[in-house]
Symmetry: C2
Subunit: 265 residues, 2 copies
Amino acid sequence: MEYTYKYPHPAIATDCVVFGFDGYELKVLLIERGCEPYKGMWAFPGGFMRIDESAEQCAMRELVEETGLKLTYMEQLGAFSGVYRDPRERVVSIAFYALVKSSEVNGGDDAAQAQWFSVDKVPQLAFDHDYILREAMKKLRQAIHFNPIGFDLLGESFTMPQLQRLYETILGVQFDRRNFQKKMMQLGLIEPVEEEQPRYYGAHSEMKSYDIGVLFREPTSFLQMSRPTDDSEDQQTMGRKGRKFHFNKEKYDEMKKKGTFRIEF
Amino acid sequence: MEYTYKYPHPAIATDCVVFGFDGYELKVLLIERGCEPYKGMWAFPGGFMRIDESAEQCAMRELVEETGLKLTYMEQLGAFSGVYRDPRERVVSIAFYALVKSSEVNGGDDAAQAQWFSVDKVPQLAFDHDYILREAMKKLRQAIHFNPIGFDLLGESFTMPQLQRLYETILGVQFDRRNFQKKMMQLGLIEPVEEEQPRYYGAHSEMKSYDIGVLFREPTSFLQMSRPTDDSEDQQTMGRKGRKFHFNKEKYDEMKKKGTFRIEF
DNA sequence: GCAAAAGTGTTTCGTTTACACCCATGC
DNA sequence: GCATGGGTGTAAACGAAACACTTTTGC
């Protein structure tokens, strides 16, 4: 079966830049190419768009097919339309980026050849995917000011240091612990997870240690991601206990509706 | 001559959302469609991408062909890939937006059917261009925080009230004159145009009116745009005299290189 | 002449930054 | 027990917002 047009039509493909966070590093999901061109190199999950689906649908379908990761939301990064970006034929790629919770990062069992790479240790990629990755990082850094997207990268509950490390990793800067917490709390989007007993009475309190109640907290789940490179020393230094917070989605939706979200750093 | 593929390929088109500013309103450039579909309706300039050009090149070429406007820079808005957005065949459109100086807005002589519309008075558009316009406006409002794009919409020199009106129009808010000026001057991107004599001695100065020098200023050029709707009362209230400023492109480039530009409102 | 626009500084307030000590954890 | 991480408040500095009066312009 063949399809004929009066004028040449490029093919349209999608690519997904999926970011994850293991508590220490920002990761990106790659697949190893099983066929030419660029066979054996790493690339973003993605594939050709079908005639009866939108680019968004295509991106999500391909992501499931290639990595087992099922997402409901992706943000478009843009179209990449360089004339020679694919050696086979003219291919315009519409790229998306997405953020996934750390808990989902090992779900991809379909994904024999899918792996997470630290964004700092990404190998040379197929096609123009190096360029696409740089653009995705740029967009991510920008987007984080207008959307509390950080929370998409964390699990159900998280500690303040985890959240801070996430922001520091994405933005490449360091924050003062106390000021960071204040800023985050001022947003009104996160609240402490209720505990049976107070963790301890604060340094400025009159209460003394002998009055501390029993601590009822589950151990922090160690965030894990598959490791592409085993030579890296285990820097999974996360997992210390700490007061947990969770994200209030209702307030976020409300804020998003009004378009008032804004965070400065 | 025909082009045959093993799988169906959508067509790829580009659309240009070109913004202009007449000193009072934010305008957008539209063309009247001369053929089906949507014949007689207004739409963004644009057209089908050739096989040997990138989307950026296509957008600029089509803009020249249809409106006579030659631009060197456009920002990509994104790809619009709804399955039914074009009744003829499957067409994916890559949209761009651009800002033009007020002086260029009447240059399009090729453009018999091209006209500027106030963004508040845009008629119903062809295809999904209403949606594209909304997205472009969103992007414009966001972009203005990270780029001094406002200056692309103004001429060689401008008065502070003009600049302020521009920002107020785009963002839909009002600013205090004095604080706005302070903020703009703090950026270090604009400087007063040298004058032979001071305009007058300020209110807080010891000097009095009898000491005022001769004023050497050209009359402010009245910014003009073709008017699509003649029923609108003439609100071309611009053109009062005032101290002029100009934009320091070198400092802007320097700032952009460092990535430090940021303006808060 | 008059109404509306434009030019100019200072004070107040809120936000951001800088900073220190004690407790908890994991080895 | 010791080193590191984590939890908490306050004071100083900075930046943003509020605000009034005079001159200029265009009718």
